[in-house]
């Protein structure tokens, strides 16, 4: 059955109307998803459970509607994810009828790999990067959708929509293919693969506006709530049963939310009152505004403290 026109969605219904920017971004993403599914033999979607993944998943539902999403979701589980993330992942995949594959580097996990033991960089290397490459190889996937955006950081600004990887899964910036119009080159030799980034042209604000406009479910950790935290330097770390407290540390209650979702020991929360999507968007843009005001007017101490705290996340 077709759904009735949803006035909250970005699709709109007007005749002959120029697309607004979210509609244009959506159309581009749907086109990219379909091109990849049409031309690759075994695509998979890297699903991180975060807000960008949530958008990408909705776009995949739209691209192949009324069919189901024609590829599995691959989640690389480090075993350190927030429990709320795992619950959300399992429930949501079931709800939308997607095939979910969870890949863990069991050997490293059994060997006690942890950020305390290995340091964050080596821990990520073992539990994320290695695990991802193994997961892709095991599945024999020739294309993997990722939710990365070009506005995330400087080095991402030149990433292609189709990012070519050699047979070892490596990215060679000198060997990227020119990408003109929307004509993507999907030709591969055995063992080579392509990371496909349907959200390349989306900004962080676009993601939040789309989540709002489309009413897409996200992990509750994004919304502000009174939570147990421990203060570590400039970082507020959520406390749960896996948290290892140092002797001098004390657990305090703060109204906090997560800006991005990673592994529990290594992802900090921010103090926030934003407990709805509009409030999160407002927080995002007001922050930019207060920065503008920074140059024009004097700030009270609390405001500048707030700005500094958040700067740590940019």
């Amino acid at each position: 059955m077709l759904k009735q026109q949803d006035t909250n969605g970005v699709a709109g219904s007007a005749l002959n109307e120029r697309l607004n920017h979210l509609q244009a971004l959506e159309a581009e993403s749907l086109y990219i998803l379909r091109e990849a599914v049409a031309e690759f033999a075994r695509p998979v979607m890297l699903y991180s459970i975060g807000k960008d993944s949530s958008v990408m998943l909705r776009l995949a539902q739209k691209a192949f509607y009324p069919g189901k999403i024609p590829f599995p979701l691959l989640h690389v589980d480090t075993s350190y994810k927030f429990p709320e993330m795992i619950t959300f992942r399992d429930n949501y995949a079931k709800e939308i009828g997607a095939t979910l594959i969870v890949h863990r580097n069991e050997e490293a996990i059994a060997g006690g790999a942890s950020p305390w033991k290995l340091g964050t960089q080596n821990c990520c290397g073992a539990l994320k990067t290695r695990s991802l490459l193994d997961g892709l190889e095991e599945g024999g996937y020739d294309a993997a959708f990722g939710g990365a955006r070009r506005d995330e950081e400087k080095s991402r600004a030149k990433e292609r929509v189709y990012s070519f990887r050699d047979s070892a899964g490596q990215w060679d910036p000198k060997n990227q293919r020119p990408e003109l119009w929307s004509l993507y080159n999907s030709r591969l030799r055995k063992g080579e693969s392509i990371r496909v980034f349907p959200l390349s042209n989306w900004t962080e604000l676009d993601i939040w506006l789309y989540l709002y406009a489309e009413q897409i479910p996200i992990v509750p950790l994004y919304f502000a709530e009174e939570r147990d935290v421990v203060v570590r330097g400039n970082t507020l770390t959520l406390v749960d049963h896996t948290t290892r407290l140092l002797p001098h540390e004390v657990v305090v209650k703060r109204k906090v939310r997560m800006r991005s979702l990673g592994c529990a020991p290594c992802t900090g929360a921010i103090e926030s009152e934003a407990d709805t999507l509009p409030k999160i968007i407002e927080e995002l843009i007001t922050f930019r505004r207060s920065e503008r005001e920074n140059r024009a007017i004097d700030h009270d101490e609390e405001g500048s403290m707030e700005a500094k705290k958040r700067e740590g996340y940019f």
Binding site: Q4, A27, K158, P173, E179, L183, R288, E291
Partner: protein
Amino acid sequence: MDTQILGLNEESRDRAFRAFLDAHLDQEMLRFTTAGSVDDGKSTLIGRLLHDTKSVYEDQLASIRASRVNRAGAGMVDLSLLTDGLKSEREQGITIDVAYRYFSTSKRKFIIADTPGHEQYTRNMATGASTADVAIVLIDARAFVKLGTLLPQSRRHTYIASLLRIPHVVAAVNKMDIVDYDAAVFDRICGEFTALATKLGLKSVEVIPISALIGDNVVEPSKAMPWYSGPTLLEYLETVPLRGDEVGGPLRFPIQLVVRPDANFRGFAGRVERGEVRPGMRVKALPSGRVTRVKTIVTYDGELKAATAPRAVTLELEDEIDLSRGEMLVAEAEAAPHISNGFRAMAVWMHESPLSVGQTYLAKHTTRTVRATVKAIQYRMDVISAERVTADELHMNDIAEVEFETSLPLFFDAYADSREMGAFILIDAVSNATVGAGMIVAAVDEAPDAAAATHGAEFHLVSGGAAAAKALQVKLEIRGERVVIVDDALIPEATLPAVARALHLAGVTAISARENLSAETLAELRRVAGASFVEGEGR
């Protein structure tokens, strides 16, 4: 509450935020590309646009203020450092490449394709220009005064902007502060640039005097140039009309894939590349020429009453016609695209190994990939003088008019009429590298209509075994038809319809003398071949 839209109470704050959301949910998107080299002040201009539209975070500003590198002069912030990732990469020996940047104002969301100007200039700028609505060509006023004319690179940039058919071109005459904001200098540049633009056939041209370093006429109007009354660069970008050519033309709907979740639904997913599609519209499938009607325009968000370019939708058709990826739906009542195996195109070469006559590549055009052979190089374009010169082969960054012949017909419009319908890329079939890009100028030896592409190709199912098949083949070949027998052990019954279909689309008649075909295969063969299905010898 620590976040406030300044000084408002809860209720009016809420209203202000709703208004903000409504505005942002209804913003247009504009893509532009910047052409110019480091010396023209391009990085400073982009830094200035980002800075003055408040798109830079405080910590980024702090880090460039603290930088030991400062080319802006004492007491000023070197905004070019905001886009400086490129330079450090060059030091590391990494390919200098197109970088994409984003900012928005209350009017529009902008995507900048920032194309660095060095050896790979043509390739990079063509990439950035391919999706741009506006090209900003930077002209260095100081260099103009020194040379007495436009720099060769400005001519090259303007030519590439015209070649890629960027709808609007704006010349930003930079470093006006260094030439004392002299109106006479600006007028001379304006005159020369306008003459060049006219020669190149540019339709929408604007010239704006700026200083990216000081900020004159970039976002804020300049007090130092009271003689200039036009828009600032940002005002121009916020108000220039967006492309309408795709929306206005005849319908073009290349099929991306067939959506078939169950036996009750068969839809064709694709993007409207040109024009508009509506339920009830009579549409023709290319290359088969079959006509049917659009039943519904299906989307996740409900059925649409119409879909215009560049919407991505799924079309359900009234009749079960055979149609798959690489084929196209057009409106029966509207102008048809060109259907041809031969065309001339402006090609931009992007690879170390040269293009030469006789070589064959893969050409990807819309959703269709075919083999394309170089028949002739008509001329190479000297991008600085815009003069035509003869050439035997094309090297990296060369631009030339090339004649191609393809293995199967393409359905296209001239690039001048539609970028999406006239553009293609060339791929090396062995290395898989993208080696070139092309923009179709015109068809060569055009087939008179869609049916001609498959004219005469039939599917014959004969009785009497291999001998009968062979006899019919000889008979048809005498008439000049291309004929193959498909009773090969390598073609199992299940793939017979697919083989028949491929041959049909290639204009080749197929003969089979198979017996005991299943009812399913027979039905599929009849569906695939349609009216060209012949039992026995026919005719």
